[in-house]
Symmetry: C2
Subunit: 453 residues, 2 copies
């Protein structure tokens, strides 16, 4: 029987996160204060985040210690197994070995608690009593709910109203972990009240929910805001995935030719890939590929520009690939990939050609996902289906070229709460969707006058 899993004992779990800022060949552009156009200072962020996390956000240290209480919680489901997809390989019948990190076996079902737990911990240590955040599909909101409960923090999640109504299981999951989940727009904040006054039936948007969560936190000295992707410290925490994978592949004496992840805000992709990007910077031959939806093709069709992280223009200006903060992505089922921008670190790596991006539409991704579920068993999240589509493409290329390849990818989450998306796919109600160029050009007008990176 061929080996199908590489395990790490908890004693082998990495004790430090990896900070790629220490290894970048060219420095990143700084975030800018939208008022002054000057680089923002740590103090500017102090009403929003606790200072210990702000320090991580700007740190240039290569290795950052994972605190003991965080390791204790990680241990509930980490280290995650490195699995070999032997059954999927048989199905593809291509000269590839496919390895994946199964991040779908965490309590909320995705990679999100890798950062939710340290964020809750650092806020707790800083004396904060409550965290506010927003959630779209609900993966992030549920992960932070669990983490806050574990460290004795209150948690308030503003959930896009249409998701709140369509995905009651996510709301129930947050309640089970003791969090307060509020449909957004809400009457809790002035931002929410303003929208409701104008549009009482507003279905909400991630932009509105972010504005509500930030307002809710900033008004209260005992509260802070928490973000589930995009920022440097979030990507830092996720490197536990890639560091484990690196160790696990070393154990079996295999090094990947290609490392892949799906990319929405960029955190799970960065999590698996940054330790391998480091190798690449130091001369190792390895391809690093980000898979995104063709309906929200930030990396493949957006420009590298300064833009707001949110629709409501409350964040600093971030240097990133963006479709413009006004961009409204189509309602694809992969809610976690519906983001107009991309993590500045990931954007920088794409610009520097250390990372390549590819886009896939829903039919391709669900076809790949169903084939996965029927061979490997586990049902992937719609987001994860994007990287599986990329793996299939890579395998087919290897077959055409008659070239052996080792593929490593991040299986970022399971799709149990997303089964209605599979139902839609199986009943034939999904269509492939290519975004018209005019739509991108229209959305980009909103950033035409911003500073250029």
């Amino acid at each position: 029987m061929e080996q199908c899993k590489v395990l790490l004992d908890e004693s082998e779990m990495p004790r430090q996160w990896y900070n790629i800022l220490a290894d970048l060949p060219t420095p990143m552009k700084p975030p800018l204060h939208p008022g002054t156009g000057k680089p923002i200072a740590p103090e500017d962020l102090a009403p929003v985040f606790p200072m210990n996390l702000i320090e991580q956000e700007v740190s240039a240290e290569r290795w950052i210690d994972i605190p003991e209480p965080v390791l204790e919680k990680y241990c509930l489901w980490r280290p995650s197994p490195l699995c070999r997809a032997l059954q999927f390989e048989k199905l593809l019948d291509a000269p590839v070995k496919i390895y994946y990190k199964n991040e779908g076996n965490s309590p909320p079902g995705s990679h999100k608690p890798n950062t939710a737990i340290p964020q809750a911990y650092y806020n707790k240590v800083f004396g904060i009593k409550r965290l506010s955040t927003e959630t779209g599909a609900g993966q992030w909101g549920s992960a932070l709910s669990m983490a806050c409960q574990m460290f004795g923090l209150d948690c308030r999640v503003f959930m896009v109203r249409v998701s709140y109504e369509q995905k009651p299981y996510r709301r129930m999951m947050m309640a089970t972990w003791g969090a307060e989940c509020i449909p957004s727009p809400s009457n809790v904040t002035s931002a929410g009240r303003k929208i409701l006054a104008d549009f009482p039936d507003s279905p909400g948007s991630l932009g509105i929910a972010i504005s509500e969560a930030i307002e809710d936190a900033v008004g209260n000295p005992e509260a802070r805001y928490s973000l589930g992707s995009v920022l440097n410290h979030v990507l830092l925490h996720q490197t536990i995935i890639g560091l484990e994978a690196h160790k696990q592949m070393e154990k079996i004496g295999v090094y990947p030719d290609v490392v892949m992840g799906c990319a929405g805000g960029g955190s799970n992709f960065a999590g698996i890939s940054l330790p391998f990007v480091r190798d690449k910077i130091h001369g190792k031959e390895v391809s690093i590929v980000a898979a995104e939806p063709s309906s929200c093709p930030t990396l493949t069709r957006g420009p590298f520009a300064y833009d707001f992280g949110d629709t409501a223009m409350t964040t600093p200006l971030l240097p990133m690939y963006t479709l413009g903060h006004d961009f409204v992505p189509a309602s694809i089922h992969a809610g976690g990939l519906r983001y107009h921008g991309m993590a500045p670190i990931v954007s920088h790596l794409v610009k520097e050609q250390l990372v390549e991006a590819r886009a896939y539409h829903q039919i391709e991704t669900f076809t790949a996902g169903v084939n996965w579920a029927r061979s490997e068993g586990f049902i992937p999240a719609p987001e994860t289906n994007h990287v599986i589509a990329a793996v299939v493409q890579e395998a087919m290329r290897a077959k055409e070229e008659g070239k052996e390849k080792v593929i490593l990818f991040n299986w970022s989450g399971n799709g149990v709460i997303d089964l209605p998306a599979y139902d839609a796919f199986l009943s034939g109600s999904l269509t492939p969707y290519e975004l018209p160029e005019e739509e991108i050009q229209r959305a980009l007008k909103s950033i035409a006058n911003f500073p250029k990176p």
Copy 2:
């Protein structure tokens, strides 16, 4: 940091299942043919099950080899980790060490594929093309759907209509794995058509669904029926859980004082406990405890008697604890524990006082389950909450007695698809429920004239 997990490499996975029939101090009573009152012969079962599984059902061999193709599929998620519930221990503040097998990380979220996979495999080898089965809450139906897909069998699942409508996620899961899920009563069988003619709006019942599934299989030489619990061969396959646990505890040099599982049909309970019952038979001091719902108290309040396994009286008469095949359990959320009978093996062990049974009501079980989710992260299935309630009780006893104890239990499944049950509990709409004695006596009338074991 205290050790929180004991892993087994796949090379350490047990290669044989354990058959307790080889070690029973007193022999079990045989199943009887309801027509003749004589013990049934293997041939009697041939239209229902393939002969290779019937041979397992009646085998007296102590160790039965797990076929290589089954091991390959087990490897997708097995061996399951033996976890130490350090966070839950802190919460209980009692002198106990709590270990559990996490069976919730399988693709369908429970222990059920441990037997679904070998059942699909043996049917495939026997030349069968399609399996029919019934499902209540959907855990079993989804596990068999996945297993059939993996071995290229068609799968037809008759799902109790009320569950089919209330739990659409389970139906979608089965469809994702390529199975046909039919609400029961249906027009597919004469049993279903008869019910529909009399009661067009029938919500269905497990009894009706079993009758439909058996009829559907028996009428077709290329089809067979499959059952997810109760029978000897099902319990045999589940012993992989306890055999792994046994090895894992040996690795850390710890032996449990108490081994616990929840019991509906008995398969997950038997899975964790039979290898420890074997030790007990050979003189080891260990308590073995089955936790059942007080609304369906088969082991704690039913007699040991001959009864049918199904409501429609199509099975052989089984020697077991039973509330009578006419018994209709209250609609508790732990659908997997709503069964009038109990596996003959488990029943025999209770009668022989090798196993002790305890009953818990919904409020106790959900209180335990929410405390678990808030400390350990993972949200347990409503069935699993019963054994967690038993663990809490055991810990509180140890505290009162000032006695140290090691508890091992089977965390049989996750509750992600059962979140509406948590919603009901958190909103205060559940009540404790003690079954009136008259109801039991009324149901038992249906078996008054059956042979006595």
